[in-house]
Amino acid sequence: MQTRLQAVSGPALKSAIEQRNGSALASFYAPDAILRIMDRNNPPSRPREIHGRAAIAAFWDDICSRAMTHAVDTTLADDGRMAFTQACSYPDGTRVFCISVMETREGQISQQTIVQTWDE
């Protein structure tokens, strides 16, 4: 599917995440973007890294296929950097909280680091 690229902004990110729109999310990334994820299984010394827009699109496609709710809050932005928090909830009550920090370049995300913690 052809992805129409659009410039990333706080409201656009919030809308795409909360509507579980994987293709819109993928459109915010630069072709050579890097997404890093840190959680219990992916510690800071060995975070999970996803390289490139295509792989990142597959990642968001998996996440957005889940029947869960996402609430994006506390979006901050300055020249070349953005950050937001995200609270997620599964239908069985399991909750996840993420903090995401990004670097942007020419309106696209070039690097993103997500730190997440889950109900166990």
Binding site: N41, D62, Q116
Partner: protein, 517 residues
């Protein structure tokens, strides 16, 4: 590991399921013949397998209706596979999974194939393990089914069904006990027979052409339950599949080298080869060996009985300290623990349990990284622990200095007792001996008291010399050909005359006095 069990509603029934892991890909594990979500975690191999899968995925696993913690069904009127396949749907809905990779093991593979054909948009990919289509099962004849059903009739709940699924594991009494427990907690004998009959009737040939999802088919080369040729044939009949043979001679997916299985699945699901270093983990190893008292001859049969007895004791005591016996060869054992104090306390407890017997134990403990990709740990840490046990005398538990340092605050006390050189290490490994009679010792090390052996009789001096050599009362009695009771009286007299409160103190003072010019 505590994982919350939840329940999904599938029609009128409740299906028990668990979710573990934080990965972006949902992986639904569809079990084979029987399962019980909570008993599964008790087996180290099963727990390791689930742990590996949940490290790269959000793992969703469940007990099929009629098994484990899910609602029971009438064994005389079991629903067909299509109805039972809806349990996958129900569990995915409850866990919020829109699309998942299905991992179907054995009979679970047939259910996964059916689900994939019915719900292609909810199947991201398929991993099938140890499965054949119906043509191969019919070729294997109904005699095998009759034999299996007879086995269930006669032995259900004892673990004997392992004979058909993993004959090589029948000798592993610990695993056999767990398997028997899994049988009892997963299904009644009637339900197990009904399940076995129904599994034999499953026909998946009709759905194979409809499978479009990327499919990985795994098969162990010497699977005793399902022919390797059947797996290969299945792979030929699913256009989107690839086939991987793995070495091994067991059927259940969580037995044998589970890391090898998990490696292949992880690479297929994530597209990235597993990070190899995660298979090296920090562990504490307790090496235990049986020792013969000097001058006493055991028959081979007596020695073999003593070794069996030690193995059983070590397994039981290690379990109570959260450890596992990972290797046993002849009269030597190796147990793995997650902490050094637990390993040492286990060593002391096993030695105590063997006290009063002629055969005794010499033990060594070392902490280090071990490789878990093999059936049991191997490598440098194992060699050091074994060498420390070799250096120990009867009833001693010795530990490397690094192990002793890690026990700070545990209440255990150590005395330095030399070092061991290894040609593969730059520096020798310092060794400490665990002090067993702690409450009678001074908190500060004190030089051994000067003692006058002149106050002892000739016999008492002989007893003290043997006692200082590490012999027990029974061994001294054998050596001197007098009764245990007399030895006890001599030891009490020696302690009284030397004004000592413990055997260890008397032995240390005796050795110190001999060492003086």
């Amino acid at each position: 590991m505590h994982v919350r069990t939840r329940y999904a509603r599938s029609g009128d029934l409740r299906i028990a399921y668990q979710v573990v892991g934080h990965g972006s890909v949902d992986l639904v594990f569809v079990p084979g013949f029987i399962s019980n979500l909570e008993i599964n975690w008790e087996d180290p191999g099963y727990a390791r397998f689930l742990g590996r899968l949940s490290a790269f995925s959000r793992l969703i696993h469940f007990d099929k209706r009629g098994t484990g913690l899910s609602d029971r069904v009438d064994p005389g009127n079991l629903p067909d596979l299509r109805t039972r396949m809806k349990d996958i749907h129900a569990v995915m809905d409850a866990a919020g999974s829109g699309r998942a990779v299905l991992l179907g093991a054995s009979e679970g593979a047939a259910m996964s194939l059916l689900f994939c054909a019915a719900y292609p948009d909810r199947t991201r990919a398929l991993v099938l393990y140890g499965v054949s289509d119906s043509s191969h099962r019919q070729a294997a004849a109904s005699k095998a089914l009759d034999r299996f059903i007879n086995l269930i009739e006669e032995t259900w709940g004892t673990g004997r069904s392992l004979q058909t699924l993993a004959p090589g594991l029948v000798q592993d009494t610990q695993f056999c006990d767990w398997w028997g427990r899994l049988e009892r907690f997963s299904a009644s004998p009637s339900a197990a027979i009904a399940l076995a009959r129904m599994n034999a009737d499953i026909d998946i040939a009709g759905v194979l052409r409809e499978i479009r999802a990327p499919t990985l088919i795994l098969h162990r080369t010497d699977d005793p339950h399902v022919d390797l040729a059947a797996g290969r044939d299945l792979a030929r009949r699913i256009a989107s599949s690839s086939f991987v043979e793995l070495p091994g001679n067991t059927h259940p997916i969580w037995t044998g080298d589970v890391d090898r299985v998990a490696d292949v699945i992880e690479e297929f699901v994530t597209g990235i080869p597993p990070f190899q270093e995660r298979q090296r983990v920090l562990a504490t190893l307790l090496s235990t060996r049986l020792t013969r008292p000097p001058g006493y001859r055991f028959s081979d049969r007596r020695w073999s009985e003593a070794a069996t007895n030690l193995r059983e004791r070590l397994e039981a005591v290690a379990r109570s300290f959260g450890g596992t016996v990972v290797r046993w060869e002849g009269d030597r054992g190796l147990a793995r623990f997650d902490g050094p104090a637990k390993a040492i306390r286990c060593g002391l407890a096993v030695a105590e349990a063997c006290r009063g017997r002629l055969e005794r134990l010499a033990q060594g403990v070392h902490v280090g990284e071990v490789e878990l990709s093999q059936a049991s740990p191997h490598g440098t840490t194992v060699m050091i622990a074994t060498a420390i046990a070799d250096s120990a005398s009867a009833e001693q538990v010795r530990a490397s200095a690094v192990t002793a340092e890690l026990c700070a605050g545990s209440g255990l006390r150590f005395e330095p007792c030399g070092q061991i050189r290894f040609d593969f290490l730059d520096k020798p490994v310092a060794i400490a001996c665990v002090a067993t009679v702690q409450h009678l010792e001074s908190a500060r090390p004190v030089p051994p008291a000067s003692i006058d052996l002149g106050c002892l009789s000739e016999r008492e001096r002989q007893v003290l010399e043997l006692l200082a050599g590490g012999l027990s009362n029974t061994e001294i009695a054998v050596q001197l050909q007098i009764s245990d009771h007399t030895i006890k009286r001599h030891v009490a007299n020696i302690l009284g005359k030397l004004d000592m409160s413990s055997r260890m103190g008397a032995a240390a003072a005796y050795l110190a006095s001999r060492g003086r010019p």
